[in-house]
């Protein structure tokens, strides 16, 4: 450091360099503020340009966009109802499937195998495994699901005497559930770790068992945080593209029967964009696909804001 010190002394003794120091400091501040502005403008610009491109479709489609099930570029009718249903259905089933497991992992890691007991090999394994599960690329989940999950689903479809596609809303939901599991588990861990130790100790002092403490103190206290975690996981699930595109079968027509619906191929908002965007011809067609993108953008934005706000309030 001694060289720097001398440099610093020189700057003190020399009035001219002092001026350039001021200038450099100013440039530095401006650079920082500019970078903040660029990030804000990036998000704002993304939304505005999406909205701008989608405007012709919004004008043309009107309310048909959310109510009509007919998606036919040739007749210029763009109804996204079946995609919206597909998105809601896949995310909902995925949530129902993954929440019990995610909750179990987060309770286990926080209450039974906490971090300071690092000697416990099971805890270390579970912690690292959830992190690794979060790192697997979504296209690999899709590829694996194609060869592992969809034959299983096909087998059940044959058992139930349904048309055996294999690729279906159910298959996509199962893979989606596996994908959002590490995400919801990490939020659950964060939230459960925030429960004050005193509350739990008070419960133990009253003679409750660990199970009773967890059920009546820990979970009750962190309920809002867990709900927020579920909302954030939902936000992630609706935007998930690749694995769902590979497993959902990409059919624009949905059967009316609810039971058949789960076992039949469908489409989500994200998967229809992934499938049709690169081949879309015609301004209105593209614009309608972008309109779906706007819906996805707004949905995930809203879910994120709600989830983060609830967690922030919980943390205070």
């Amino acid at each position: 450091m001694s060289g720097k010190w001398k440099h610093e002394m020189k700057m003190k003794n020399n009035g001219k360099t002092n001026n350039s120091t001021k200038l450099k400091g100013w440039i530095f501040r401006v650079g920082l503020i500019t970078s903040g502005c660029v990030i804000v403008l990036l998000l704002g610009g993304m939304f505005l340009s999406l909205l701008g491109e989608a405007f012709p479709a919004i004008k043309h489609n009107g309310f048909n966009f959310v109510t009509s099930t007919v998606w036919n570029p040739r007749s210029e009718s763009y109804g996204a109802f079946s995609f919206i249903v597909g998105t809601i259905l896949t995310s909902f089933i995925a949530l129902v499937l993954s929440v019990p497991f995610a909750l179990a992992i987060s309770i286990l890691l926080c209450e039974y195998l906490p971090e300071y007991q690092n000697g416990k090999i099971i805890g270390v394994f579970l912690r690292n495994a959830t992190d690794l599960l979060a790192g697997v690329p979504s296209v690999i989940y899709g590829f694996w699901g194609l060869f592992f999950i969809s034959p299983i689903v096909r087998y059940f479809e044959e058992l139930l005497d349904l048309p055996a596609y294999g690729v279906s809303i159910l298959a996509a939901s199962i893979v989606l559930a596996i994908m959002i599991l590490p995400y919801s588990a990490s939020i659950g861990r964060e939230v459960i770790a925030m429960v004050p130790e005193e509350l739990k100790e008070a419960a133990y002092a009253l003679g409750t068992t660990k199970y009773e403490t967890i059920r009546r103190v820990t979970l009750r206290h962190s309920a809002s945080g867990i709900v927020a975690g579920v909302i954030l996981a939902l936000g992630r699930a609706i935007g998930e593209t690749m694995a769902v595109t590979m497993l959902i079968g990409n059919s624009n027509i949905l059967p009316v029967n609810i039971f058949r619906l789960i076992f039949s191929p469908g489409n989500t908002m994200a998967s229809v964009i992934a499938n049709e965007f690169a081949e879309a011809t015609g301004k209105l067609y593209l614009s309608s696909l972008i309109e779906i993108g706007v819906v996805l953008f707004v949905l995930s934005f809203v879910l994120n804001v709600i989830g983060k706000q609830v967690i922030r309030r919980f943390a205070l």
């Binding site: 610093e8 003190k12 120091t21 530095f28 920082l32 503020i33 500019t34 970078s35 903040g36 502005c37 990030i39 990036l42 998000l43 704002g44 993304m46 340009s49 999406l50 491109e53 995610a102 179990a104 992992i105 039974y112 495994a129 992190d131 690794l132 790192g135 697997v136 690329p137 296209v139 899709g142 590829f143 694996w144 596996i178 588990a185 509350l199 009253l206 409750t208 068992t209 660990k210 009773e212 009546r216 009750r220 954030l232 936000g235 992630r236 609706i238 935007g239 593209t241 690749m242 590979m246 994200a270 964009i273 992934a274 965007f277 972008i290 993108g293 996805l296 953008f297 995930s300 934005f301």
Partner: protein, 309 residues
């Protein structure tokens, strides 16, 4: 928490009730069973990919180009190089902006600042960017870059991945900078070091390993992304290093080959999956390595209760 719930437990069910102990045990076992069931897909996926991928792995596979359907052999050299180029372009855009943004949030994000609304907006934007579906980012970059250039390009793919990587870099930079003890900053300022020099020469070096970790994690996040590349980088069956031309990447190749009906292509996709998953895991492992041996840990242990300036 209501008190009567406890009275209920104690009075109605009885303190000495042995079922309470049994229920407690059962709950614990249930937790263990559910957790391991939840984790089991990871074992299945990794096992599946290692077994299937190793059979197609060879030096020729890594260093040769894809061949048309029907021919034996063929490799993924162009996809590996393409992924490298895309990651490089993405880092080129997102690392400077992300690190600056992280410094900005840490330095100007305090509550007693007049420009609070801007830092608030920046923080919100970063959080929202993290949540935007990757396919939507693909659409936006398609409008901004692909329409502007007139054709798909590696540049567009890199920008899309850069946008996805940005929040990770910003957040990790901000968080590690916050961990630097105020005494270090105060010491430098007390010596008369100008403010920008304190940041550049004291704070940044102190949190170097944390920032590097964030960059590595960001790369790990984008290396496996496919959706934003579908209509930006597009894919390319030939070897290309030109960033103004379409380029192939590992996830794109896996997607295209996995959804094809050819057995031979599935084999290549399994091999590519093994390479990709190995790359991603290596990145996150090295990120963890940097965290565990970095300066940050030592600093945060020494953290004294000094109040912030």
């Amino acid at each position: 928490m209501k008190l009567h719930t406890f009275r209920e437990v104690v009075v109605r069910k009885g303190i000495g009730n042995k079922w309470r102990v049994v229920r407690d045990r059962c709950f614990k076992y249930l937790l263990f069973i559910l957790s391991f069931l939840g984790i089991s897909p990871l074992v299945l996926i990794i096992g599946y990919i290692v077994v299937k991928g190793l059979s197609s792995m060879s030096l020729r596979f890594l260093f040769s180009l894809p061949v048309p359907v029907g021919e034996k052999g063929g490799g993924i050299a162009n996809a590996i190089v393409g992924t490298g180029i895309l990651v490089f372009v993405a880092s080129f855009f997102s690392v400077p902006l992300g690190v600056l943004g992280g410094i900005y949030l840490n330095e100007y994000g305090g509550y007693s600042n007049r420009k609070r609304w801007l830092t608030y907006c920046t923080r919100l934007s970063v959080e929202m960017l993290q949540g935007i579906p990757s396919i939507v980012i693909g659409i936006v970059v398609w409008m901004w870059v692909v329409l502007g250039m007139g054709h798909f390009s590696a540049l567009a793919g890199g920008i899309a991945l850069g946008i996805m990587m940005l929040p990770t870099v910003v957040k990790s930079t901000e968080e590690t900078l916050r961990l630097v003890p105020p005494s270090i900053r105060e010491g430098a300022l007390a010596l008369g070091v100008p403010y920008y020099r304190v940041v550049l020469r004291v704070l940044i070096p102190a949190s170097k390993s944390g920032i590097l970790t964030g960059i590595l994690l960001g790369i790990a996040r984008i290396a496996g992304e496919t959706a934003p590349l579908l209509f930006t980088a597009f894919g390319n069956p030939y070897f290309s290093t030109d960033i103004t031309e379409p380029i192939n990447s590992l996830p794109l190749l896996i997607f295209n080959y996995a959804t094809s009906p050819y057995e031979e292509w599935h084999r290549i996709a399994w091999g590519a999956s093994l390479v990709l998953i190995g790359f991603v895991f290596l990145l996150s492992l090295s990120a963890r390595f940097f965290v565990s041996r970095g300066t940050i840990k030592k600093l945060s242990v020494n953290k004294s209760g000094n109040s912030k300036v």
